[in-house]
Amino acid sequence: MAEGSQSKMNRATLWRWISTLGPLFGLVLVTGLFALSEELRPIFFTGSNAKLILTQTVIVAIGALGMTMVIVSGGIDLSAGSVVALTSVVAASLLVKSVPPVLVFFLTVASGALVGFINGTVISALRMMPFIVTLGMMGIARGSAKWLGNNQTVNPDANPLNRIMEPVNPLEMFPLPMGVWIAIGLAIVMTIVMRKTVFGRYVFAIGSNEDTARLCGIPVQRQKVLIYTLAGMFFGIAGLMQYSRLTQGDPTVAIGLELEIIAAVVIGGASLNGGSGSILGTMIGALIMAVLKSGSSQMNWPTYMQEIIIGIVIILAVALDRLRQSRLKA
């Protein structure tokens, strides 16, 4: 009997490892596949390419930090792409008005947080589906961005914020753009928040079973407002990165970005039913997509191939998740 439960436990541990390492394995696999091509190998495995991939991941990755929290809590935020566009226009407009860059940074993040706060408040107070509320907000934020930018791009003069995503020396891996370090730093902070704090435990509890969370005295509605507000903050930071990358505020940028962000979270092992997911997985998920994109464009594959491949990867990742869950039920 003791032996039986021992082997059962080992199997459980094994599965936990597989589900944690799954995304990492996927990343190695994808990179390895591109390495098979002899013409690609010399360009693909260079510091400058690594820098390119990392830089391209920053916006999706920072957005995905907020989205992971939302999805683990059993929700969804479809307004992410629009909020990135809106906040990038907010940043540019403030810079045009000669507001000091440090203040611009904070105001931009705050504007993202405000949108998230509205999302969270409506979802909690009216007990509405996050899908619907954030779908509405997707339009509202996009429209506001266009309104604010008078339907065109906003171009401020050179300023320190333009340099966050600047490659400095494109031929060398280091120094990495500041944006990459910011993303890594935020990812570490979020890992700690999700794993080590009461707040993080509550996020998992609500996503795992909202009724139980309520039974356990967790202030579910207040917590949801906090979650969406924090997520909005991350989208605001992503919006700053978006601004810095283009050095202009573009109200029509980042269309469909929310789906890319959600894909990163899902590939990273989070369940859309809530209750499971990890920051590390999400980051790897974001990287997998960036590597796929970069690799296929360097292979001169048409963009439609990229889209098809990424689509297949998403389905495969979720199939693995289903398999894991059906095992848990058995």
């Binding site: 435990r201 509890a205 079973n209």
Partner: protein
């Protein structure tokens, strides 16, 4: 002599090691209303599932009008003339009455619905009920529960059933609606439809049924004419068991009241509960399913709204309170739905145990994981939870071990008032004994326990005081030694005391 409409002989059914049915036999004549009586868990629902084709019997025979009846599934059962009306209504609320009645039986030609024929079918079914309160075009969600039930019955009549099963048809009806339903039943009876009527309310059965069969522990133990049998005798048949299990008795003394309810009322249920729970007391709440016991606990704990009366915790009025407030006031609730509500199934034992009170392991909002595991391990050992360790996912444990963790959460929270809703439901005997002992120990420590259970022997064995609920009202409270199973059931089924 004509064969009976339905005859079941020695029907048996087991689920794994549990023998849900251990030999049930009964007969129903054409045009007879026959009631199946038994306590919660006596096997009524399983038996009806076997009859309506949802389960296959392991052994035994069934006959309809003298022909062998072995349903392959619910559809087959329907074709053979068995119709069932569930306690929970199964209607499509956004469709009209007419559409609901013919749902799945739509008359059509090449995929196009023949609306005239459909109307005729629905009208014919409705005519049998002789009811004219609402039009066939009304959308179902606009109807009252009683009217919806009529629609459900009409739907069953479309197929001209030979046997109509009604499971607790009156549980959510008002007295007037009940009378109306009985008229409908009598009409159907006159048309030769046999009805199997399942209800907890014996007096209703007495009014509308011709004969009865009593089920106990999965076996039919008695059958007879309703008119010539005293309710007392039926209750005696329902109880019929000896107190064989041993309940540990731990000395504990009862102190001052800590939870007082006065004419306590929830939104739908309970209608009126007045009780006083004292320090060190185990207060049992008996009653049938739907009597409002769970709702009382939920309203106490702030999960449901309170709509009347008062609640005092430790001597002060605490009218409004969320579950969070209640936990702070030292009240803990054990949910009857361990899987749906009680536990975070995909989370670790440690998280489930400590979710309501992380404080011992936290500093400025950061959780010390090692400390949390250590604290959880201590509970695992104290409660005798069989698990590989505090990190194990709770969904992997057996029901009994899950329940120990769920109770452990209340202990870790150090709740002084414990509201336990069916704490031993669905767990093995060993774990039950463990929980009985634990409850005794808690009382000895001075905790106050409200113990809701449908299993009378455990209430009588464990509790100091027992109150019985019937139809949303806490009817009577007495010390446990002044009750016996028979008397509890009499009050629970709404039988008037004869003194």
């Amino acid at each position: 002599m004509a064969p009976p409409r339905l005859r079941m002989t020695n029907v048996e059914k087991a689920f794994g090691a549990t023998r849900a049915l251990r030999g049930v036999s009964f007969e129903v004549a054409p045009g007879e209303v026959h009631t199946l009586i038994g306590e919660n868990g006596a096997g009524k629902s399983t038996l009806m599932k076997v009859l309506s084709g949802a389960h296959q019997a392991d052994s035994g025979t069934m006959e309809i009008d003298g022909e062998a009846y072995i349903p392959k599934g619910p559809l087959d059962a329907r074709d053979r003339g068995i119709a069932m009306i569930y306690q929970e209504l199964n209607l499509a609320p956004d469709l009209s009455v007419e559409e609901n009645i013919v749902l799945g039986e739509e008359p059509c030609r090449m995929g196009v619905i023949q609306s005239k024929k459909r109307r005729a079918m629905a009208e014919k079914a409705f005519a049998q009920l002789d009811h004219s309160g609402f039009s066939l075009k009304t959308l179902v969600y606009e109807l009252s529960i009683a009217e919806q039930q009529l629609v459900e019955i009409a739907r069953a009549l479309i197929r001209q059933p030979r046997v109509l099963i009604m499971d607790e048809p009156t549980s959510s009806l008002t007295q007037v609606d009940v009378d109306r339903l009985f008229q409908v039943i009598n009409k159907l009876k006159a048309q030769g439809v046999s009805i199997i009527y399942i209800s907890h309310f014996l007096e209703e059965c007495q009014r509308v049924c011709d004969r009865f069969t009593v089920l106990r522990d999965g076996a039919s133990v008695g059958t007879g004419e309703m008119a010539s049998t005293e309710l007392d005798d039926i209750i005696h048949l329902m109880v019929g068991r000896e107190m064989t299990e041993i309940y540990p008795h731990l000395d504990h003394s009862i102190g001052d009241p800590v939870l007082e309810l006065k004419s306590f009322q929830g939104r739908k249920k309970p209608e009126s509960v007045t009780l006083s729970l004292r320090r060190g007391e185990i207060f049992g709440v008996a009653g049938l399913v739907g009597a409002g016991r769970t709702e009382t606990l939920r309203a106490c704990f702030g999960l449901d709204k309170i709509s009347g009366g008062s609640i005092e915790i430790a001597g002060t009025e605490k009218a409004v309170g969320s579950p969070r407030d209640r936990l702070r006031q030292g009240v803990g609730l054990l949910s009857e739905n361990r899987k749906e509500e009680g536990l975070l199934l995909n989370q670790s034992i440690a998280n489930n145990l400590t979710m309501t009170r992380f404080e011992p392991f936290t500093k400025m909002g950061f959780i010390n994981g090692a400390k949390q595991l250590e604290g959880s391990q201590a509970w695992i050992e104290k409660l005798g939870v069989r698990a590989s360790g505090p990190k194990q996912i709770i969904g992997e444990l057996s029901g009994g071990n899950q329940q120990k963790v769920a109770i452990g959460r209340l202990l870790h929270h150090d709740a002084t008032i414990l509201l336990l809703d069916e704490p031993t439901r669905g767990i093995d005997v060993g774990s039950k004994a463990h929980i009985y002992r634990l409850v005794g120990e808690l009382a000895a420590q001075g905790k106050a326990i409200l113990f809701v259970s449908s299993y009378l022997p455990e209430l009588l064995g464990v509790c100091d005081t027992i109150g019985v609920m019937c139809r949303g009202v806490l009817e009577e409270v007495r010390p446990a030694e002044d009750w016996n199973e028979h008397e509890i059931l009499s009050v629970a089924v709404g039988q008037e005391e004869e003194k």
